[in-house]
C-alpha cells in the first residue's frame, strides 16, 4: 500500500519505494527507510508523517509532496 493511502492516525512500517536513487537515499538517511515505523499525521499535499524512532516521546516529522508519498510503500505493523 502506498504511504499516501494510509488512514489518518494509523501506523505502519515502510517496506520499499520506487523513487529514483537520489530521493530514496535522502529519505533513507532521514530515517524513512525500509523497516521504519511511521504514523500518518496529515494526508494529501503535503503528506506529513511522524517517525517515532523507537519511542513516542521523541522522533521527528517529515513532510512529503504527494508525488513522493505515492511512491513509498508501507505494510501493516507486525504485532
Amino acid at each position: 500500500m502506498p504511504l499516501s493511502q494510509m488512514p489518518l492516525g494509523s501506523r505502519a512500517v515502510v517496506s520499499e519505494s520506487d523513487l529514483d536513487e537520489s530521493d530514496a537515499s535522502l529519505l533513507r538517511a532521514m530515517g524513512l527507510g525500509p523497516n521504519a515505523e511511521v504514523r500518518m499525521c496529515r494526508l494529501g499535499e503535503p503528506c506529513i508523517v511522524a517517525l517515532p524512532c523507537g519511542c513516542d516521546a521523541g522522533g521527528c516529522r517529515i513532510g512529503l509532496s504527494r508525488r513522493i508519498a505515492e511512491r513509498v510503500y508501507v505494510r501493516a505493523m507486525p504485532v
Binding site: L26, G31, C41, E45, P46, D56, A57, G58, S65
Partner: protein, 674 residues
C-alpha cells in the same frame, strides 16, 4: 572573528575552500591548537553551539539547512569549523560533500596544510537520537578522535526522555556530553572533552541497514522514555492548520501582511525622532558655525546625506527582528509546503521559499541559502529571481516615494509599500516561469523535508541579529553613503560661478540705504540672487553629468537631478534618498519639517516640482525591479557557476525595470495624472 556578525563579511568559502583565518595569527606554531569539525543532522543546534563556544554570531534558525557553508571560529586552543547539517556523509548533496571534504582532509583553512581535523564534534538532537546516532556511526567509522554532544537536553527532559550518558559513551567508545546550546549547559565539558578526545575503538557496521539496526539497538540500550510524557496532538493540529489548503494559505497571507504592516507602522515613531534629531543637528550647525564652504559641506553634504539614510534604521531593525522571531518558531518549514503549491506552477519548489524570504532582508544570504535547493535547475531559477525580492536597501526608496504619493494618508502609504513587495514577488515568479520555459526547461523536483518541532523563538538571538544588522547599516551610512554624499555635494557645488557685477552693485546699494531700504530694492537683490543660484547650479559638474545622461531616462520622466539619483543608486540603492537630500537642500522657499518632506516638496530651479505622480510611480517600479547591486552579481556568478548567469540576471532585471517604468510613466502621463 570575535563578535563579527554572520553576514557582515561576504560569504568566503565554498566547496573546497575555507575562509582565511586572518593575518598575524600564526597559531600553527602553537602545537596545542586542535582543529575540530562540527557535524550533525540539520537543525540540531550546531551553529548555536558554535556561536556560544567561539563567541560569534552566525545565523541560526529553526529550519533544517540554515548553514550552507563551512565557517571557522576560535575558542581557546580550538579551531572550530561549523559545517552544514547533513543526514548522511554519503549523499550526493552539497552539504554532504562539504562535510566529506572537511572530514577527509581535502579542504583546510587557507594557509594551512590539508589534513583531516584533529577531532570531530558530532552534535545530536536528544529528542531524535536513533536517527542522529546513524550519523554518529558514520563518523566513528572514520576513526578520528570524536566527541558526541547530545544537544537540546532542555527539551528532551521536558519530553520525559532519559539518556544514560555513561552507557552510551561506553558503547560508542568516545566521550558523550549532554548539553543545551541555548542555556549553555554542558558546553565547558565539551571543550574539555575535545582537548582530550581519542580515537574511538569500536567500529559500527558500514552498510546502511546494519548501521540502522546498530543505532536502534544502542538507543534502546541507553535511553528510556516515560510513558505518555509527550503529546503530539497539539503539533498535529498546528501542522494540519498551517498546511491546510485554505486555512494554511490564509495564515500565510496573514503572517506576511502582518509582518510588513508592522514594519511600516511600528517604525513610524522612532523614524520621526531620528528625523527630528538630524533636523536639530543641521540647524544647530548652521546657526553656530560661520557661513562658508565648510559649514555648507557639513550641513548640506554630511548631515543631509547621512540623516536621510539613518532615518530608516528602525525599519531595517524591525524587519530583521521579526523575521528572526518567525524563523525561530518552526513555522517556516510548514510555510514552505504551503508555498510549494504556489511556486510549483512557476517552476520553483517549496525549497525556494526560505531563500526567497531571506532575500527580503538581503539578496546575498538569500542566494547562499539557495544551496539548500536540491535540484540544480530549481536552484538556478531560485538564484536568478532572488534579487527581485525587495531587500532592505530598497526600503528607504519605497518609504520616500510612498510618502510622497500619498501625503498624510498612512493607510494608503502602507498599502503601496506592501504593494511594492508584492510586485517584486510577482516579477520574480513570472521571470522564473519564463526561465523554466526557455533556458531551464523541466519541472521542479518534489519536496521531502523534515519539519522541525515548534519552539519558542529566542529573543536573545533575534536581538543580537538586529543589533548586528543595525550597526552594519549605520556603518554603511557612515562610510559609503557619507562618502557619496560628500562627493555629490562637491560635484553639486563646484565649479563656483562668481557673482555678477549687477548683484554686487545691488547689494551695495541696499547696504548703503541701511534698514530703511526700499522694498523694491531688496526684492531686486533677491531676484538677482535666485537667478545667480540657478545659473551656477547649471554649471556644476553634477549638472553637466546629469544633463548628459538624462536623455536615457527622459522617457521614464526623470529630470537631471533624478537621473543623478538613479545613477548614484548603482553604488547602493539606499543612496538614492541621500543623493536627493543632498541635491535639494535649501531648494524650498518655505522651511518644511522633516527630511522626507523636504525631498518630497523639492522644486527644480524653474519652480516646478521634481516629483510628480507619474514620475514617482515610474521611479517606484524602477527600483522594485532593477538590479543595482554589484555584490549580488558576484554571488550569483559564484553560486550559479558562471558569469553568464550574473549577466543574464543583470540584463533581464534592468531591461524589465526600464520597460515597466517607461510604460507606467507614459500611461499615467497620457491619462492626465499629475
Amino acid at each position: 572573528m570575535k563578535g563579527v556578525p554572520a553576514q557582515a563579511e561576504p560569504p568566503v568559502s565554498r566547496v573546497g575552500g575555507l575562509p582565511d583565518r586572518g593575518p598575524g595569527l600564526d597559531r600553527r606554531q602553537e602545537r596545542r591548537v586542535r582543529r575540530v569539525a562540527i557535524v550533525g543532522n540539520p537543525n540540531t543546534g550546531k551553529t548555536t553551539l558554535f556561536n556560544r563556544v567561539a563567541g560569534v554570531r552566525h545565523k541560526t534558525s529553526n529550519f533544517p539547512g540554515t548553514t550552507q557553508e563551512a565557517r571557522l571560529g576560535f575558542a581557546d586552543g580550538l579551531d572550530l569549523i561549523d559545517l552544514p547539517g547533513t543526514y548522511s556523509l554519503e549523499l550526493d548533496l552539497s552539504e554532504s560533500q562539504i562535510c566529506r571534504d572537511v572530514l577527509s582532509g581535502q579542504t583546510a583553512p587557507r594557509g594551512e596544510p590539508m589534513s583531516a581535523p584533529d577531532a570531530v564534534l558530532v552534535v545530536a538532537d536528544a529528542c531524535n537520537l536513533p536517527r542522529n546516532l546513524m550519523l554518529v556511526g558514520e563518523v566513528l567509522r572514520r576513526r578520528l578522535p570524536t566527541v558526541v554532544a547530545v544537544n537540546m537536553v532542555d527539551l528532551s527532559r521536558r519530553r520525559g526522555i532519559h539518556i544514560d550518558v555513561e552507557r552510551l559513551s561506553e558503547e560508542l567508545g568516545c566521550e558523550v556530553v549532554l548539553c543545551s546550546a541555548r542555556t549553555g549547559e554542558g558546553l565547558e565539558r565539551i571543550t574539555r572533552a575535545l582537548h582530550d578526545a581519542a580515537i574511538p575503538h569500536p567500529t559500527p557496521p558500514g552498510d546502511e541497514a546494519g548501521l540502522r539496526r546498530w543505532a536502534e539497538r544502542l538507543y534502546v540500550f541507553a535511553a528510556t522514555a516515560e510513558e505518555g510524557a509527550a503529546d503530539d496532538s497539539f503539533t498535529d493540529r498546528l501542522d494540519r492548520t498551517f498546511t491546510h489548503p485554505v486555512l494554511g494559505t490564509l495564515v500565510f497571507v496573514g503572517v506576511m501582511t502582518g509582518l510588513f504592516w508592522m514594519i511600516f507602522k511600528l517604525a513610524a515613531t522612532p523614524m520621526s525622532w531620528i528625523d527630528a534629531l538630524f533636523g536639530v543637528l543641521a540647524s544647530q550647525a548652521r546657526s553656530s558655525l560661520p557661513p562658508g564652504v565648510l559649514t555648507d559641506l557639513l550641513t548640506n553634504g554630511v548631515i543631509a546625506g547621512v540623516g536621510a539614510t539613518a532615518i530608516f534604521l528602525p525599519q531595517i531593525c524591525l524587519l530583521f527582528f521579526l523575521i528572526s522571531l518567525l524563523e525561530g518558531t518552526g513555522y517556516l518549514a510548514r510555510a514552505a509546503f504551503v508555498m510549494d503549491r504556489v511556486l510549483r506552477p512557476f517552476g520553483l519548489s517549496g525549497h525556494a521559499f526560505v531563500p526567497l524570504l531571506s532575500s527580503h532582508a538581503c539578496a546575498l544570504p538569500g542566494i547562499m541559502a539557495a544551496r539548500a535547493v536540491p535540484d540544480r535547475r530549481d536552484r538556478l531559477a531560485t538564484i536568478l529571481v532572488a534579487p527581485f525580492m525587495s531587500c532592505t536597501a530598497r526600503i528607504p526608496v519605497y518609504v520616500l516615494l510612498t510618502v510622497l504619493l500619498f501625503p498624510g494618508r498612512e493607510g494608503m502609504q502602507a498599502l503601496a509599500f506592501t504593494g511594492c513587495y508584492v510586485i517584486g514577488v510577482f516579477a520574480g515568479l513570472l521571470s522564473s516561469l519564463v526561465a523554466r520555459r526557455t533556458i531551464l526547461r523541466g519541472k521542479s523536483r518534489a519536496m521531502a523535508m523534515e519539519l522541525p518541532s515548534y519552539k519558542w523563538p529566542s529573543v536573545r538571538t533575534a536581538l543580537m541579529l538586529t543589533m548586528d544588522r543595525g550597526m552594519m547599516f549605520l556603518k554603511k551610512a557612515g562610510t559609503v553613503i557619507l562618502m557619496i554624499s560628500v562627493v555629490l555635494w562637491w560635484m553639486g557645488t563646484y565649479p563656483l560661478t562668481p557673482e555678477p557685477a549687477e548683484l554686487i552693485g545691488a547689494r551695495q546699494r541696499v547696504a548703503a540705504a541701511g534698514p530703511g531700504a526700499e522694498p523694491a530694492l531688496t526684492d531686486e537683490v533677491r531676484a538677482l540672487e535666485t537667478e545667480h543660484g540657478r545659473v551656477s547650479a547649471r554649471r556644476t559638474i553634477q549638472a553637466r553629468i546629469g544633463s548628459a545622461i538624462q536623455p536615457i531616462y527622459a522617457p521614464l520622466g526623470y529630470d537631471r537631478q533624478l537621473t543623478i539619483g538613479v545613477l548614484a543608486s548603482f553604488a547602493a540603492r539606499e543612496v538614492f534618498v541621500s543623493t536627493m537630500a543632498v541635491q535639494v537642500v535649501g531648494s524650498n522657499d518655505a522651511p518644511v519639517k522633516g527630511m522626507l518632506a523636504e525631498i518630497a516638496s523639492a522644486k527644480r530651479d524653474d519652480g516646478t516640482p521634481i516629483f510628480t505622480a507619474p514620475t514617482s510611480w515610474s521611479l517606484l517600479i524602477y527600483f522594485v525591479l532593477s538590479m543595482q547591486c554589484l555584490p549580488t552579481l558576484v554571488v550569483t556568478a559564484r553560486e550559479a557557476g558562471g558569469w553568464k548567469w550574473a549577466g543574464l540576471q543583470m540584463a533581464w532585471m534592468t531591461g524589465l525595470a526600464y520597460l515597466s517604468a517607461l510604460v507606467v510613466y507614459q500611461v499615467l502621463t497620457a491619462a492626465g495624472v499629475s
